[in-house]
Symmetry: C2
Subunit: 431 residues, 2 copies
């Protein structure tokens, strides 16, 4: 941390107080570092998520919240995770959530959906304020996205603001059937944010809220930012830094975010399809044209992008393959790489970009062959199986405090353990 | 070890001195345990082998010889590895050897091909003698095998014995271009065996030699057994326990193995194709028929299977899928599972078979879904990449004594390090 510039004098500007004016062209080096940091926080939500449908912990996080940043080599950012957020959905939307096929699944309905983290004392000094981060997990299947995201707007609060029903469903669904979602994701995250904000405010600290996410996570970030800014009014500056986010709502939603002071920086890789859904550019054309705009404003289903766009372009990097690749163009690690190399819209890829190229191939094969890093290298040893004391390969039974812990309904004590997910090693009984 | 039966009174019989007569139908429990053990020794040669062509250590063993059994959870067998064997080939035969694509490859020509191990003092007491094991590595592509194994016999020593040219090439090729094969595999293994045999004989111990291997490794085991029995004459009983081995030589080769006292137990899974090459059963038919036999004996290219066959059958196990699967039927882990459950040719799968079913799916998807073990689960964490002190994901640079060490030409000191494979981490210099 000591090697990073102290950004405390400029933090409001870097956080978007002036809509990042004059910071994007060319890209301010400190802002670049901040965007990369939030990108890595969003990436952490993928890297720690159990996508293995054979696992009884499918849909949960592999790590305890206190271990998350350590396991993912992110402690250098100087934040601590304070809360895990779970979500479910009452709308069937392919690829939004993962479901364990195991009979003894920890939960058949809920998914770990993101986390809240706070900057440490040291880092807060460098940052000029206490920064609270919410990082939302996205999904991994852009092809399904592009096909399945329908235009189904639903009202959000009072006024004319409307948002995509599927996204809102993930954010607001709660149900008695799942111990992890007796409260919705919205309720869980807002409770935690209120607690943190009031505790730091009481100490007289300045506090900022930065919400991040990739893909679906970018959509959830906007819904969360909307709610947070409404809740905290002008007490806490709220920014959303999103990557590859789809359109979320109508023009009234966009205008409302503006009005309540939410600052949105949307990072978009030009050839990525997901930020073009729903709508595939038709709405863009209408909105950018006066006549079209007046027509569009009358269409209740019009989707609009919000905030400020930072457009990067895969064709600018000499380190990635340029052939059409729907998943590769959408990959968050590719996005972060492009931000790391971005100088300006007309500039070449930064010669002094230092971010590890190996990360590009974490879950893609986008890195050029010359670098000799295997494709899709991110994987667990033996797919998570461990050799137990009886000489058998089993999915490890988690120790109590390592289990996904259901957010409790009425108390602040979240350490209670769901007894139905306890015990019973997955050891094979068929021998 | 203390829980296993002491087999010292019966060791010669179990080692094949009477061609396993009356031990196979029904299968003697102690013999079953021995076959499983040697199968696991052969499997170790796969589990520790670097097949990753992006790795500069492709074709070598991931572990040092002193760590091998510990890393693979095989110390319970009570053996210690004494030597690694390397091979190259002057014949192009697809899928026999692996070649690193990395510029800085440890060797472009040689492959780690197997190892020599010796029973410990304690285990030797249980076994009734000092048992020396040679385990040969096979290949992983049965489909290519079945297509590519041609009938190309070449003379082996004096007499009429002939063997497949490709197999013999792997066993006997040496070349100045590779530091690891200034000696051939044959020379390396025989030097080690002579050293071990004379050292234990000098102490007045009884010594046995058991050679094992799967697929190509089964072929190499027979060539090695032939040479060892010729070398040690009647001083040391030599057995080969092979799994899924192809035919190796002509009838004269088979007869010679018989004559020099090599005992061969061939484990064959009935629907596996590899033991049927070269020849696909035609030769079997001829050899089992008197007239055919006299014709076949006159054909110099006639391939013959040797020794005693233990036929297991995948259709006998309720734990594996039965649909045609050329790779699955050939898998060594499937073989070991079938031996573990084998009671007799007319008997059902053993109810009290205890071997871990998860192992079946180590490199296949053959295990029935109900057991809920992921397919092909054997994998390294992050494909072997590690996070280094500079925060980059790299292929670990091996420490000196961890490097594949070329067998020295004229001394017993094999600890010398090939300087050309030293240093230079694979850290990415392109940033």
């Amino acid at each position: 941390m000591s090697m990073k510039e102290n950004i405390s004098p400029r933090w409001r500007e870097l956080h978007g107080s002036k809509n990042w004016e004059n910071l994007l062209e060319p890209l301010d080096p400190s802002l670049r570092q901040e965007i990369v940091k939030y990108g890595e926080f969003a990436q952490a939500a993928y890297d720690s998520f159990n996508f293995d449908t054979n696992s009884k912990y499918c849909g949960s996080n592999y790590y305890r919240k206190d271990d998350l940043f350590d396991k993912l080599h992110l402690t250098r950012h100087g934040y601590k995770v304070t809360k895990y957020i779970y979500a479910m959905s009452d709308i069937i939307m392919p690829q939004l959530l993962e479901t364990s096929l195991a009979d003894s699944a920890w939960s058949k309905e809920s998914n770990w959906m993101g986390y809240v983290a706070v900057s440490t004392d040291d880092e807060s000094e460098r940052l000029g304020r206490r920064d609270i981060v919410v990082a939302w997990r996205g999904t991994i299947a852009p092809a399904e996205w592009v096909q399945n995201v329908k235009i189904r707007l639903t009202p959000l609060g009072e006024g004319n603001a409307k948002v995509e029903r599927g996204f809102l469903s993930v954010y607001t669904t709660k149900g008695k059937s799942s111990k992890y979602n007796k409260k919705s994701a919205s309720q869980q995250v807002m409770k935690e944010l209120k607690k943190l904000v009031s505790s730091y405010k009481e100490k007289g600290e300045e506090v900022s809220l930065t919400i991040t996410g990739h893909s679906l996570g970018g959509a959830l970030a906007l819904l969360n930012a909307h709610e947070a800014a409404t809740t905290f009014a002008n007490d806490v500056p709220v920014s959303a830094i999103t990557f590859a986010g789809p359109r979320v709502g109508n023009i009234a939603f966009r205008d409302k975010l503006d009005r309540i002071g939410v600052k949105v920086l949307r990072v978009v890789n030009k050839p990525d399809m997901v930020p073009k859904v729903p709508g595939f550019g038709l709405m863009d054309a209408m909105i950018n044209n006066k006549l079209g705009r007046s027509i569009a404003q009358n269409l209740h289903w019009t989707y609009a992008h919000v905030g400020v766009e930072l457009e990067v372009n895969i064709s600018n990097s000499p380190f990635v393959k340029h052939e059409f690749n729907i998943a590769g163009f959408h990959s968050l690690e590719v996005y972060i790489h492009l931000v790391d190399g971005y100088h300006g819209s007309k500039s070449e890829f930064r010669k002094d970009a230092k971010r590890d190229l190996a990360l590009i191939n974490k879950s893609t094969g986008m890195l050029i062959e010359e670098v000799k890093i295997p494709e899709n290298w991110r994987q667990l040893s033996n797919k998570g199986l461990v050799y137990n004391e009886y000489g058998r390969w089993v999915e490890p039974t988690r120790v109590e405090d390592d289990l996904p812990s259901p957010p409790s309904e009425s108390s602040d004590d979240d350490s209670s353990v769901d007894s139905s997910t306890e015990g019973a090693s997955q050891e094979n009984e068929m021998n």
